[in-house]
């Protein structure tokens, strides 16, 4: 399929194909504790992305996968067959293996694995609906689910993908921009620490564009982070406030 022209992705007035401005995020919602059997869970909507993360553990790992000094974090990213417009084979693909690893490495610096030696923590991510930037939305869901599971963490992890369309940097790209744009640049951070835990790039960006992208990401990650925090606190807010009522 031929690529869409760049003018479709970004009009002269700076409006993107879904009506957003260049620095505007898609609607972002987080719901905590949607699963009752899992130790922790979160459902994230980021644009048309709909992603469910469930955490099992910590539990004692099998002998052969135990680390004596830290916990073993396992992440499984999986897309449902109905998550994309063309049926996706339900079997585990090469791409999913790669993304599982990228997401795990984005989360690992935030989880205090040394608190729980010999144990294993499993994060299962199901992409129910995909609309570009699923790895970022998955990181956002997984970090909230881990916190909900009561797992010790240095910080939450928040992610967003910066892209380039019509030679312009845009924030939180959707599927169309991902496929037809000039670059896809997912970034994950620990917002309180200002540290980057995931940085990948598909496409081409100049050195100056990379620097600007990171600055743009830093800014919007703060507002994504606020949504994550609210979702976590909301679950306990009626409890904490009920003495007044």
């Amino acid at each position: 399929m031929a690529k869409l022209s760049q003018e479709v992705l970004l009009t002269d007035d700076g409006i993107r194909n879904d009506g957003r401005k260049v620095d505007e995020l898609r609607p972002f919602e987080v719901e905590v504790g949607v699963l009752t059997q899992a130790n922790g869970s979160a459902l994230v909507r980021q644009g048309k992305n709909l992603i469910l993360a469930g955490v099992m553990g910590p539990y004692e790992a099998e002998r052969h996968s135990q680390f004596l000094d830290r916990s073993f974090l396992r992440v499984r990213y999986h897309m449902q067959p109905y998550s994309t417009n063309e049926r996706k084979s339900p079997t585990y693909s090469r791409r999913e293996v790669e993304l599982s690893r990228a997401i795990r490495e984005a989360l690992e610096p935030a989880v205090i694995l040394t608190e729980l030696p010999r144990t294993q923590i499993d994060v299962f991510i199901e992409v129910l609906q995909a609309d570009g930037g699923t790895r970022c939305a998955s990181v956002n869901a997984a970090s909230v689910a881990l916190a909900d599971a009561g797992i010790p963490m240095r910080d939450l992890v928040t992610a967003v993908a910066i892209g380039k369309v019509r030679d312009t940097l845009v924030v939180d790209i959707n599927d169309l921009e991902d496929e037809n744009g000039q670059a896809d640049f997912p970034i994950a951070m620990m917002p309180n620490k200002g540290k980057i835990t995931l940085l990948q790039m598909n496409g081409l960006l100049s050195e100056e564009e990379i620097k600007r992208s990171i600055e743009m990401a830093r800014k919007v990650i703060d507002s994504l982070y606020a949504v994550q925090v609210n979702a976590l606190k909301k679950k306990y807010a009626p409890l904490a406030a009920s003495n007044e009522g």
Binding site: E60, P117, D148, G150, P152, M153, L156, S242, N243
Partner: protein, 233 residues
Amino acid sequence: MSEKIERVREIAVPGEKLSEGRLRAGEGCYRDDSGIFSSYLGVVERDEQRGVRVRPLRGKYMPKVDDFVIGKVTEVGLTDWAVDINSPYVGRLDSRDAGIEVDPITVDLRRYFDVGDYIGAKVVSFDRVTPPSLTVKGKGLGKIRGGILISIIPSRVPRIIGKKGSMINMLEKMLKTNLIVGQNGYIIIQGGTPEDVSFTISVLRKIEEEAYTYGLTDRIKELLIKRYGVQNG
């Protein structure tokens, strides 16, 4: 947990800054160059003397030495038992800690505790690298016969017990059932009619759910009086 701590209760998320670093960083927090941060989603407790700590709202039981726990025997070995204590770490009860000198050739440990038995035990030692070891030597420890087991979130057990045992004393006095409360979140309910038992469960669930509200003891007291009336003593 003193009244004073309860009054300043607040919820923190992992990575949330709790202090510039003047206070002592207690359990559930960590310190780095720029201050003290929470490492859990939990309730913040600040205290001038003891510093700041965060009690997780959820999560599994982390064994602590001298804790009374209720465990379920899951495996019987030649000289020890494996015991589920609602923790990522499987407890180990050595036959010597059960007060039995065993010759593994002649004695079958199933005679003492079999798979599926519930025991009240104390944590003797735990260093995270070796399994937590348990003992059943001591008053009130050993096999638990009969009763109904419920499991609550371990970090909310302190609320079942209350400040200096205020909640558990009240429950014991006013409920028509007996409670055995393990620090690991397992609670055994013994005695009483089926109605008493289901009422007890509803009370315990309420305490669990509202563990981080104020005035909980008073609300529970009201509930108990409404059901059983005022009792003397």
